[in-house]
């Protein structure tokens, strides 16, 4: 059980780290497109790792309800499909409106 707890803590910590980095990227990056790079990728893996940690914790500590980990697996799958799709939709909308991408050397917003 101690090993399980350590693994779960590592997974939650890693998920937290990537979500945190995503938020910092959202604040630091210069324009809309690069900001989406930070959130689109980090949120996917961050949320995935956190849910994976919860899944393992639940599976070993509350093994009388195995349906909940199964549901969490599907949650991860849906996040991994929906998140890049939503990022792409935002990118496409911004591109069609005509937001100019930031280039190296320009002043930051």
């Amino acid at each position: 059980m101690v090993i399980i707890n350590i693994i779960v803590t590592i997974l939650l910590g890693a998920g937290l780290f990537f979500t945190f980095v995503g938020s910092i990227g959202l604040l630091r990056f210069p324009d809309f497109y690069t900001r989406l790079h930070a959130t689109g990728k980090c949120d996917t893996l961050g949320a995935g790792l956190i849910i994976l940690g919860l899944l393992i914790y639940h599976f070993f500590h509350y093994s009388e309800t195995p349906l909940i980990p199964a549901k969490l697996i599907f949650l991860i799958i849906f996040i991994f499909i929906a998140n890049p799709t939503a990022t792409h939709a935002l990118m496409k909308a911004a591109y069609q409106i005509g937001i100019k991408p930031w280039k190296t050397g320009e002043k930051r917003e």
Binding site: G22, K41, K71, H88, M91
Partner: protein
């Protein structure tokens, strides 16, 4: 055609029934029977949404897709480390650019897979896809990821291998 339709109906019904059991979690007669009835109604109304068009070798493609997923997951981890490095580096080593390339992929599902894979892998996000010509417009955060996509083309090859669309 009829065989295709039968396959679509059976597959949709099985998926629906699986989800019903998974989400309800109650296994008495009342809930299972109402589940079967609901699944039948949904299947009859919308079986052509989930499985559509004629497609050969579906099983082989699914198996190849299963082998593609672990590689893709590893790429996602690399992508996140890459973004974390660029975010936390004091000088922020980014050099954004928009690149364009054409692929031989024509299938709907293969193009969606490639587009989502590009978005999840290091430093690139798909902006536009033109389905007829297989043209992809991609925003890259720096020079190296753009070149990985343009010159190496590992990902295009892998997706083409999974969906057996090598261009010939």
């Amino acid at each position: 055609m009829d065989k295709q339709r039968g396959f679509a109906i059976v597959l949709t019904f099985l998926i629906m029934a699986f989800f019903w059991v998974l989400l309800s979690g109650i296994f008495d007669a009342f809930h299972l029977i109402s589940g079967v009835i609901c699944c039948l109604i949904v299947t009859l109304l919308s079986h052509d949404l989930l499985v559509k068009g004629e497609s050969k070798k579906r099983l082989l493609k699914s198996i190849r897709l299963l082998f593609y997923i672990p590689w893709e997951l590893w790429q996602i981890v690399l992508a996140n480390i890459d973004v974390a490095y660029r975010v936390l580096h004091p000088k922020m080593p980014i050099d954004p650019r928009i690149i364009e390339f054409e692929t031989t992929l024509r299938g709907e599902f293969s193009q969606v897979t490639l587009a989502n894979s590009i978005t999840l892998t290091p430093g690139t996000i798909t902006i536009l896809v033109e389905p007829e010509r297989g043209k992809f417009l991609v925003h890259a955060i720096a020079k190296e990821p753009a070149e990985a996509l343009l010159i190496d083309q590992t990902m295009q090859k892998k997706v083409a291998h999974v969906f057996m669309e090598t261009g010939e």
